[in-house]
Structure formats: structure tokens, C-alpha cells
Amino acid sequence: MLQGWIQIALILVTVIILTPLLGKYIARVFLHETTFLDPIFGPIDRAIMRTIGIHEAEGMSGWQYVQAVLISNIVMGIAVFSILFLQPILPFNPNQVGGLTWDLVLHTTISFLTNTDQQHYSGETTLSYGSQVFALGFLMFTSAATGLAVGIAFIRGLTGRSLGNFYQDLTQSITRILLPISFVGTLLLIASGIPETWAGTAQVTTLEGATQAIARGPVAHFEMIKQLGENGGGFFGINSAHPFENSNGLTNFIETVAMVAIPSSLIYTYGIFMGNLRQAWLVYGIVLAFFIPLVVMTAWGEFQGNGQVNTLLGSMAPNLEGKEIRFGWSLSSLWAIATTATMCGAVNAMHDSLMPIGGFSTLLNMFLQIVWGGQGTGTAYLFIFLILAVFLTGLMVGRTPEFLGRKIEKAEVVLASVILLIHPIAILIPTAITLLLPENLTGISNPGFHGLSQVVYEYTSAAANNGSGFQGLGNGTIWWNLTTSVAMLLGRYVPIVALILLADGMQRKQPVPMTDGTLRTDTGLFTGVTGVVILILGVLTFLPVLALGPIAEAFQLSSGL
């Protein structure tokens, strides 16, 4: 048991140590200071910018930035949709996989475009290498870079800087951050035994003489950007539980750290932008105050195992159903929390098989979206909650609320509220409709409280752009493909537009000088207040579904019915 906790602690400590290092580096990149990679990538950047017709990277206004995000994403989406749809006639298809239905192509395109990577298919049997690498692999870089660019534009605006140029930020996110780190990580993964090959499925004759097909492919680099970019779309159907995606303790360590590295470092980057590292570490504290208890609760639940099974066994055994023995209860629990916290969505164990407390924790992570949160957007959401906390409680110091020296007025509240509203809309409404239509209920493998969790999880994962699944749900139908697509689009682009417009508005405001009468947000007290505001605004909304889902299930299990 102790070993399990040490494994968890080791990964957490590594993440915390990496935070200031990577955070400083990201800040250097986006403050346009020189980095050691400039000699290599500087010319490439310029070539890319020239190709898309930008000679001088000019700062964009809010709407220009929004337009750039939307147009670039639509273009990429159409390209990827075409590749996937035309898969049977395109090259790099050694295994001769066939075509996909239009709704699955649409869902998959939107899923990877929105950094969600919800998969209603199994990669090894459905997609060609070409589709995986050139369509999905491409989006894994650009969707992560889009999130990062938006996150940076947001803090630029909040701190009174120009929002920057989206195309430049997108390019530099890839060339200075995602690509170099992926490159190093891929080499490490290959060294640890992850395959990277264009050869088709291996046909092997086993000792018993049977023939077995072993799926393989260009996995290693795909795996690395999947983790680093909070994408989570696995090369194989069972994602990082597959030995060729995640072979051993070392790969699991690399992949878990890669998953949390950027969202956690970005808080530090924000601190540099604000010129207030104290504020950054306090915000970091809020995240840890959610993250660590959730990890501990989940891990404890898995370690205790299922009471009813234990009764049959006559002894206490951890819940290992749906888990890989090489990861065990501890690393599976940490991964489950980290992947739902960071909106990565890769899995190394089946979340459907988690104990109810694990189901509760993973759902809660995705409801909040700020326990690290998605690439770029998660940190921005954290600051949205800071803004809301300032607005709600800031009046109590006798001034109209201000954050980072700028007044929070109607426009900011409207935009922050949109972000707050989109989640209940994109999760609860489709859940309710799905449950009303009897033909959808047949896809639920465990009717009852757990079945409710399955449906809620599917929409939450889509709306939060997480992408992991409660795998028991039969979600390959047109209904699921289309409704989750809508949830993903709403959950991605509405908040992005709101974030950028909010930042643009803040940047245009005249800063108000700090006085003793100004509410300081970098105090322990205010940080605590923000935590409570997050709980009330973020959690209470979803308390009823949590109560009827995992909480009811937990009581059901413990009562032994």
C-alpha cells in the first residue's frame, strides 16, 4: 500500500518541480524573448507565417482574434473531415481498413478539432495510419496550440497587453513548446519499448500454433502529443491501457507527467505575465486543494475495493477490475484523476469500473474544468472564477469590484457568465432528453444509478472537451455522435469567444492604481474565498446529478442491495 502512495507522490512532486521551469520557458516564448530554439525554429516560423500570408505579426483586436481562431479551425476541420471520409482511397493504409459513416467522421473530426478526442471507434480497426497520423495527429498539435494561444491571449488582455497575433501564437505554441517536448518524449517512449513503425499489423503464430494479429503502427509520437496536448485520443481502442501505448512504469510516469505539465506550468506563466508569482502560487494552491483530495479519495476507494466482492472473498482486496495489473490501484487512480482534471481524456484503466467515489471524482473534475483544466483554457477558467469571486465578494470592501487593476463591469460579468452557463446547458439538457427517449436507454449497460452516471459522463466528457468515456455506454449511434458533437462544439468555442472578448475588453480599460482600499487577490483569505465560490458555482449546479449518480450508487453498494 505504501508503495502505491509513494508512486503517486513521486509523480506529483515531479510535476510541481517542473512547473516553474516550464512555466518560465512558456512565458519567454510568449513574451517574445529569445529562447535557445530560435536559431532552429525562427526561420521555420517565418516560413510558415509567410505561407499563410502574414508578413508582420500584428496584434489583433478581440474580434479579429476570434475570427482567426474560428476560420483556422473551420479550415482544419474541413481538411480532416475530408481525409477521414476518403480514408479507403487514400494512401498509408497498410491494413486496408474501410470507410466510416458520415456521423462517425463528423463526430471524430469535431472531437479532435476541439481537443476533446472522444472516440466512438477503436483506432486500430477503424482508422488507417494515414488518418491517425495526418488527420488526427495533425489536429492533436493544432487543437492543443489553439487552446494555448487562447490561454495566452487571455492573460495578455487581463494584464493590459495587446492580445497578440493568433497565427503567430499558434505557430510558436507548436514550434517552441509542443513539437520540441514531444520530440524528446517520443524518443524516451521509443526507448522504453513503444513501437513507431509504418508496417501493418503483425501476424504471429503463437506457441499453441494459433495465428494472432498484433496491431501496431506509428504509436510513440502519437502517444506523446496525445498526452502533452491534453488530447487523449488513443491510437488503440483501449487507449493507454494498451501495452503498446503504455508499456511499463516508466512510460506511465512520462505520460502522466506530460499530461499535467503544461496546464500546471501555465499557472506559473500567468504569474510572470501578471508580475505576481505569489498570486500564481496561491491559484496553484487552489488547484492542489481540489486535486490532491480527489486523488486520495479515488485511490482510497480503489484500494478498499468493492465491499460486496470483499465479503465474498472473505478478505479485503483492491478493486482491480478494469485495471492493468502493471499500474495497480494507485497509478490507475492517479491517472484517472489527472486525465479528467486536465481534460486529457486518455485512460490507462476503465473509468466505468472505478468505485463510485472514483466516478464521483472524475465527474467532478470535468464539471469544474479548473483542476488544472484543459490546455490553455483551464488556467483561463481559473481566472474566470477569480473574476467571479472578486465580483461577488469584492463589493464588501466598499468599492466596485476590480481585478488586476481593472474594473469588472457588466461586459465582464456577461462574458464570464456565458462560460458558467454553457456547462449546464451542454450537459444537463442533452442528458435529460436522452433519458426521456426510450430508444436511447438500450445503450446503457448498467441501468439505474450507474447508467445515469454513464450518460452524464458521456456529455460531461464532451462538453468539457475531455474525451474519456464511461466505456459501458453503447455510444456509436447517430444520436450519440451528433448530440455529443454539439456538446463539444458548445463547450469549446463559446467559452473561447467569451474568453477572448473578455480579455479584449479588460485590455482596453484604464487601469486603476492599487491603494489600501483595493481588494488584494493575492492573499490566503481571498484564495479561500475563491475556492468556496468555485464550490458553490461549479459544484452545486451538478450536485443533484452527482447525488442520483455516483453518490446513490455508493450508498447502494455499501448497503449491499
Binding site: 457588466k410 456577461v414 457568465s417 426521456l436 427517449l437 426510450p438
Partner: protein
């Protein structure tokens, strides 16, 4: 603003109410068929009407959110 509200109250509201009642009558059987709820016709009609009221309230709240000055 004042005038538009009062005009709404006098002219458009009765029409809107009538239309929503008619709509409730038309969609009630569909809802009854699509959902597995075992209710009699009157109850389904009432539920549909309640659902439409909720929708109207939601739209009203969106108007408040985006144009709070009007209220």
C-alpha cells in the same frame, strides 16, 4: 423601452399565449408517444405546457443577461 414592454403586454401577449396553447395541443401527443411516460392526455398537455413555460422563462432570462438595461 417602457412603451415596447407595455405594447407587448397589450397586443403580443394574448397572441403568444394562444399560439403556445395551440402548440402544446399539437406536440403533446408526439411527446406522449416518444417518451415512455404513462400519463393521460390532460396530464401530458399540462406537462408540455409547463415545459414551454420553462423554455419561455429561460429565453426571458437570456434577454435579461444580455440586455439588463431593459429591466
Amino acid at each position: 423601452m417602457q412603451e415596447t414592454l407595455s405594447r407587448f403586454w397589450q397586443k403580443r401577449l394574448p397572441k403568444a399565449l394562444l399560439l403556445s396553447l395551440l402548440m402544446a395541443v399539437t406536440i403533446a401527443p408526439t411527446v406522449q408517444a416518444a417518451t415512455g411516460i404513462s400519463l393521460d392526455r390532460g396530464q401530458t398537455f399540462a406537462i408540455v405546457l409547463l415545459g414551454m413555460t420553462t423554455l419561455a422563462l429561460s429565453i426571458y432570462l437570456f434577454v435579461v443577461i444580455f440586455q439588463p438595461e431593459r429591466f
